[in-house]
């Protein structure tokens, strides 16, 4: 398990936990509205190699851009074989 900022690139995973209390209320709500939830399938698509740029990831069938501060609160695990 790793946070989204450190999870390997282009490796399908599953959201294992989200530290909702680390996020501001509107941020948390928007995140939920975009489909971030425990159990959702996720994949990091783009992450600038240097610096602190945002991250683009696939969540469900959607591509979403978010900043590293938010991505750090999202924990990802390799998908369980049952899924």
């Amino acid at each position: 398990m790793a946070s989204l900022t450190a999870f390997p690139h282009r490796q399908p995973g599953t959201v294992s936990a989200i530290e909702w209390d680390r996020l501001a209320a509107p941020e948390a709500r928007r995140l939920r509205e975009l489909g971030f939830d425990e159990g959702a399938s996720i994949e990091v698509l783009h992450r600038s190699r240097f610096g602190q740029g945002p991250i683009a990831c696939r969540i469900g069938r959607m591509t979403v851009a978010l900043r590293r501060a938010v991505a750090g609160a999202i924990h990802v695990a390799l998908p369980t074989p049952a899924e």
């Binding site: 509107p26 975009l34 783009h46 600038s48 945002p54 696939r58 469900g60 069938r61 851009a65």
Partner: protein
């Protein structure tokens, strides 16, 4: 008689709502504003299967009934029948992206729970199939308890079925609203329903992801973005030249026709010197504005704009803004008014306010006529390097000063008046798609009409008023006093000149500054009008404005004038839209204050530096 039934289109952003709206209403649509808020209201007419007309409104995209921006608030208020923006819709068309079913269904289910008659448009089913996703609309309909129509708005598929379903719905009595459900429970239920409706799902490499490998690449991405911006600005100047010349010739022809076919009179002078010259000077820029909007509309419709925001986020974060601010700021190069309105999509209040306050610093198309005229007249067109001409370089420099000024202003504002926690950046990145000629056409047509209406009302009005103020009272015969000096406007100009003389401005400029408040480009026609009236006793009527400028202005004055225009908040429409968007006079007053102060200081520095180095 009953008014026509009202049908509202509602759904997530990027569900293809606008394309569906355009397909259903065609040219029978209008853009207005919701009262009290600057949310655009798109509405049009739809013909039901029994021949009755219905009114269709396209509500702003939203993710849920819990609004986080003014746009989403309008959507919530309309569908729940509160807020008084609209009569309560008789039926809702809920648009969902077939490829994003689990996510879009959550909002759809919230809307169904309201109890109003609902039909689901399962949109973009063709794209979903291309992505290897096959859906069972019948099964989805059974799960949700409302009709589900598969549609492909851009290919006009499913439109008749949708009309058919609406015909049966608009007269139905609404049911009672169900109790709102917890968002997480709703999300889980949406996922279950979506899974039930999916017949088969084969993972395929989607071409959106392939394109993103280049567009979002840490090196190739920014290079591509710069290239696109370069082509855009290049196109604005080169493509627009021919149509602009044609418009110019048409206005010149009209003026000539009137001059030869009517006797010299007060009225003729008003029409030719005032109205035609003033409006013509502005309408000439229609091609440039449309080309700029063409690029912006294509970038938006194709899905690239969000990628640009992604790439710019890093840079914008440096001054406490987010990548989202890039989109309204780019639009501000065409005009700050739609740019400021586009800030509505920024959820964070401080972030949005800062973007509004710096938007007027983007070199809007109204400044180009001013820059072009002054640079053309005062800056020699010498070659400074291969492919680089001094005039072009000065133009580019002014653009850069504006962007750098905005960057600096944002930096200062975010640490002072709009201080607050750094805002986030979270955005859905839609699939790439070919922009539809028809949608782009409708968008351009709307912009052109807004611009021409402005030219025909505000700009024509101010030009005429200025002409009148410059023409009266007439100096006594043979007194030798210049007619401009003797007129009302001349006296006002002389008073203003006292204030602006320290920064190198003369009376003509002082005079042009006032009408330029109506629209920046009026400065050009105002200077022209001043000289036309001033020289009316002489033979100089035919001399071009640029020749008169060369005779009357020094280079430091011209440079100071250009610098003034980089900063000055001039146009009243910008101030008015800022007032509407910020709900009060506080922020527009602040904006006007800080920009005028900056304009005065930087124009002054420019003037004295230029004088000091002996220009």
């Amino acid at each position: 008689m009953h008014p026509a039934p009202l049908v509202a289109l509602v759904g997530n952003p990027n569900a293809g709502k606008s394309a569906l709206f355009n397909a259903l209403t065609g040219a029978r649509q209008k853009v207005g504003n919701y009262p009290g808020v600057t949310v655009e209201r798109h509405h049009g007419r739809l013909v039901l299967p029994d021949g009755r007309p219905a009114e269709l409104v396209d509500l702003p995209g939203a993710y849920s009934l819990e609004p986080s921006s003014p746009d989403e608030r309008v959507t919530r208020d309309v569908v729940t029948g509160t807020g008084g923006f609209e009569r309560v819709p008789d039926a809702l068309v809920v648009v969902v992206d077939a490829a994003n079913l689990d996510n879009h269904l959550r909002f759809a289910m919230q809307l169904i729970a309201l109890g109003r008659p609902v039909v689901i448009a399962l949109n973009m089913v063709d794209l979903a199939e291309r992505d290897g996703l096959v859906l069972d609309a019948g099964r989805l309909s059974a799960e949700l308890g409302v009709p589900v129509i598969p549609t492909v708005a851009v290919r006009r598929r499913g439109l008749d079925e949708l009309r058919e379903a609406l015909g049966g719905l608009v007269d139905r009595e609404p049911a009672a609203a169900a109790a709102p459900e917890d968002i997480r429970a709703l999300q889980r239920r949406a996922r279950t329903v979506a899974r039930a409706a999916i017949v088969s799902e084969t993972p395929t490499r989607r071409w959106t992801q392939t394109l993103d490998r280049v567009a979002l690449h840490p090196v190739a991405g920014p290079v591509l973005l710069l290239g696109i911006l370069f082509v855009m600005f290049q196109a604005v100047f080169t493509w627009a030249a021919t149509p602009a010349d044609m418009i110019d010739a048409a206005f010149g022809g009209l003026e000539g026709w009137i001059t030869t076919n009517t006797g010299a009179s007060f009225l003729r002078s008003l029409v030719t010197d005032g109205l035609i010259a003033g409006v013509g000077a502005v309408v000439v820029f229609l091609p440039q504005i449309l080309i700029l909007f063409l690029f912006i509309l294509v970038l938006e419709a194709s899905g690239y704009m969000v990628r640009a925001a992604f790439l710019m986020d890093r840079l914008m974060a440096g001054v406490g803004l987010s990548g989202r601010a890039f989109i309204p700021l780019l639009s501000s190069f065409a005009c700050a008014v739609p740019g400021i309105m586009a800030t509505r999509t920024i959820d964070d209040e401080k972030d949005r306010l800062t973007t509004i306050l710096i938007a007027p610093l983007m070199t809007c198309s109204a400044r180009w006529p001013v820059y072009t005229l002054i640079i053309g007249a005062m800056i020699p067109n010498t070659q400074v390097a291969p492919f680089v001409q001094l005039q072009g370089l000065v133009m580019f420099g002014l653009l850069i000063v504006g962007v750098a000024g905005a960057y600096g202003a944002a930096l200062v504002l975010r640490r002072t008046v709009t201080r607050g926690a750094s805002s986030g950046f979270m955005m859905e990145m839609p699939k790439y798609q070919w922009p539809l000629l028809r949608d782009i056409g409708i968008g351009l047509w709307t912009r052109a009409m807004i611009f021409l209406k402005r030219a025909g009302t505000i700009i024509a009005g101010t030009t005429v008023v200025l002409w009148l103020l410059l023409s009266f009272p007439k100096p006594p015969e043979g007194s030798g006093i210049s007619p401009v000096d003797y007129s009302v406007a001349g006296r006002i100009g002389n008073a203003i000149e006292v204030v602006v003389r320290p920064i190198g401005f003369n009376r003509d400029i002082a005079l042009a500054l006032l009408p330029a408040m109506a629209a920046r480009e009026v400065a050009v026609s105002a200077i022209g009008t001043v000289y036309a009236i001033d020289d009316s006793e002489g033979e100089a009527g035919q001399t071009a404005i640029s020749d008169r400028l060369k005779a009357r202005w020094s280079l430091p004055t011209a440079l100071a004038f250009l610098m003034w225009f980089v900063w000055a908040p001039q146009c009243i429409s910008t101030i008015a839209v800022t007032r509407r968007e910020t709900n009060g006079w506080k922020w527009p007053a602040f904006m006007v204050g800080y920009l005028f102060a900056a304009a005065y200081i930087f124009a002054g520095i420019t003037y004295w530096l230029a004088v000091a180095v002996g220009l």
